[in-house]
């Protein structure tokens, strides 16, 4: 049995839609008067406006995209961690340098091996410049100390108060 495959010619509307093919193929929509004369100007204005968008808002939009925001967040975290690490190393070094400096002074001037607390305080008061103490305070990130705090601290920690005053 021969089966004939029916080919539908979709390009010929008469074959598949006789009613539709009788309808006049015209555009039923209209536009306001002079619309297409004015449209290029409207588009030009819109393009110019877009071009003049504030630089910072463009930056803001750029940073708002998740990809960039995540990258920037990682960058900031990395910088913070690095800063803390580097800052701690500097503090350690400065502390080591200060103590070795004092130890050397004591050894050179007093020619002794055993160093007690009163000797260190005495040496500190006589040998270390006030600027060095200030630097030591700054390097140790003690920002909020005032004179009363220092006096309180020394009173609590040093037995012989006269050495201080």
């Amino acid at each position: 049995m021969n089966i004939k495959k029916k080919n539908i010619n979709t390009d010929n509307l008469n074959d598949i839609a006789p009613f539709l093919s009788k309808i006049d193929k015209k555009n039923p929509f209209v536009v306001p008067d002079d619309y297409f004369d004015n449209l290029p100007l409207l588009i030009q204005k819109k393009c110019t406006k877009r071009q003049n968008i504030n630089f910072w808002s463009k930056i803001y939009e750029y940073f708002l995209t998740p990809k960039h925001a995540i990258t920037i967040a990682f960058g900031v975290i990395l910088i913070l961690i690095s800063s803390i690490f580097i800052f701690n190393n500097i503090n350690d070094n400065s502390n080591n340098n200060s103590f070795s400096y004092i130890e050397n002074i004591i050894k050179e001037n007093y020619d002794i091996d055993n160093i007690d607390e009163s000797l260190i305080v005495e040496t500190l008061l006589s040998e270390v410049d006030t600027n060095d103490i200030a630097n030591l305070v700054i390097n140790n990130d003690i920002e909020m100390l005032n004179s009363d705090d220092i006096i309180d601290y020394l009173s609590d920690n040093i037995d012989d108060v006269d050495l201080v005053f």
Partner: protein
Amino acid sequence: MNNLSDKEILNMCRADNSSSYGFNLLVKKYQQKIYWIVRRILINHEDTNDVVQNIFVKVWENINNFREDSKLYTWLYRISTNEALLFLKKKKLKATLHFYNYEHKLINELQDDNFFAGDEIQMKLQKAILSLPVKQKLVFNMKYYDDLKYKEIAEILNTSVGALKASYHFAVKKIEKYIIDN
């Protein structure tokens, strides 16, 4: 209006000293074609006006990214279709959230539209087109009104010619039935 080729207009758009002038020529050459592509999808003139302006802004911003793998008109047609569909999607979503059917709203608006100049049978045809699924509607408009070849439609919609022929066939059959039934 202007007899410059697409290539010449594109070169002007991409040159620093003639970009605005070149783009203006591009707008003048293609504004009507793009407008009618969008209008047939969105029906409403005000919505179409907004979308057409946005399409050209997008074209202006991306003209240097156009690699000329396809014709300029195909590229513009693709951008226009995508933008119109995106707009339609947003409208439909908004309609769903407010518990109404967007197509029904468009049909009702069409009857009172000052910018619709068709007769009764044209109105019936537009209502029939509005009742089609989006892809069938697009294919029907491209084939019926714009006389595009299946190959061109396939390039614009990124689909196969066979699928397009089927879509067009179903669209025509549905429209025919709608006209007979109504």
